[in-house]
């Protein structure tokens, strides 16, 4: 039961900091809030028996990716722009309404969704913990995606190099 409460707490934390992310004036604070969200999610992953995911969530996401964000924010020395134009705020208002509508739809979906299948393939790996399972699956059924991810990363690297390189 305690896990449930922890889960609640961290979920709430995630939501609060998510809101903080989008409402912070300073991008650095936003980034920091996002890190909190990610860590809170990592806790949830733990509770959902996904230890490995929780780990890389912290390492890759909260660690590497967000650091990159903060680094760029600092590098560019970005300050929040305050100027506002009338036309845009109308557009934004419309956008807000729409995203709320979208959210309502999603929540309706989630509320009325019924999970029919309860016996997934995980049963094949009965007794293993999730990390092992991930390892098993990743190098059997998900071998090709796993390899292909490397190409995604290569493309990312090329992109970063090509675009961000300032002097030829």
């Amino acid at each position: 039961m305690i896990t449930t409460y922890i889960s609640y707490i961290f979920s709430l934390l995630a939501i609060v900091f998510a809101l903080s992310t989008i409402f912070q004036r300073n991008p650095v604070y936003s980034a920091a809030s996002l890190i909190v969200v990610m860590i809170a999610l990592a806790v949830n992953y733990l509770i959902l028996n996904a230890e490995f995911i929780a780990a890389i969530q912290v390492i890759v996401y909260a660690g590497a990716i967000m650091v990159l964000f903060v680094f760029v924010v600092m590098l560019l020395n970005i300050k929040e722009v305050t100027k506002k134009s009338e036309q845009l705020s109308k557009g934004r208002l419309f956008g807000i309404i729409l995203s709320v509508l979208f959210g309502i739809q999603l929540i309706v979906v989630a509320l009325s969704a019924k999970t029919i299948i309860t016996k997934g393939d995980i049963l094949k790996y009965a007794g293993m913990d999730s990390t092992r399972i991930i390892g098993k699956v990743l190098f059997s059924d998900y071998l090709l995606p796993f390899e292909v991810v490397s190409i995604v990363l290569i493309v990312g690297i090329i992109g970063a190099v090509v675009l961000a390189k300032s002097k030829e």
Partner: protein, 97 residues
């Protein structure tokens, strides 16, 4: 049904909302990360619920992809900043009409 699904959806919604209201490109980009995270949460939750490993695979791969995405995205932002000295989205409307 695990409640984390709702959390995921709310986070996704917040990401969307953030993208809509913020003009700072980097913050918007963060919102996208937030959305990806929320999707990850949903995947993991479903994986837990369905006793299926596939959700975990997705979470894993999405993270990798997100990393690449961040690399490219930040590079583009740097490029923009270098050319325009701003990260305000509203300043970027040369292309229109």
């Amino acid at each position: 049904m695990d409640f984390q699904i709702y959390v995921g959806i709310i986070l996704f919604l917040i990401g969307t909302l953030g993208f809509v209201i913020r003009r700072n490109i980097i913050v918007c980009f963060m919102c996208i990360e937030l959305m990806l995270n929320s999707v990850n949460l949903i995947f993991v939750t479903y994986s837990h619920q369905l006793k299926s490993a596939i959700g975990l695979m997705y979470a894993f791969i999405i993270m990798a992809v997100a990393a690449a995405e961040v690399a490219i995205g930040l590079a583009i932002i740097i490029m923009i900043h270098r050319l325009k000295n701003t990260v305000d989205m509203d300043q970027l409307n040369i292309l229109k009409g």
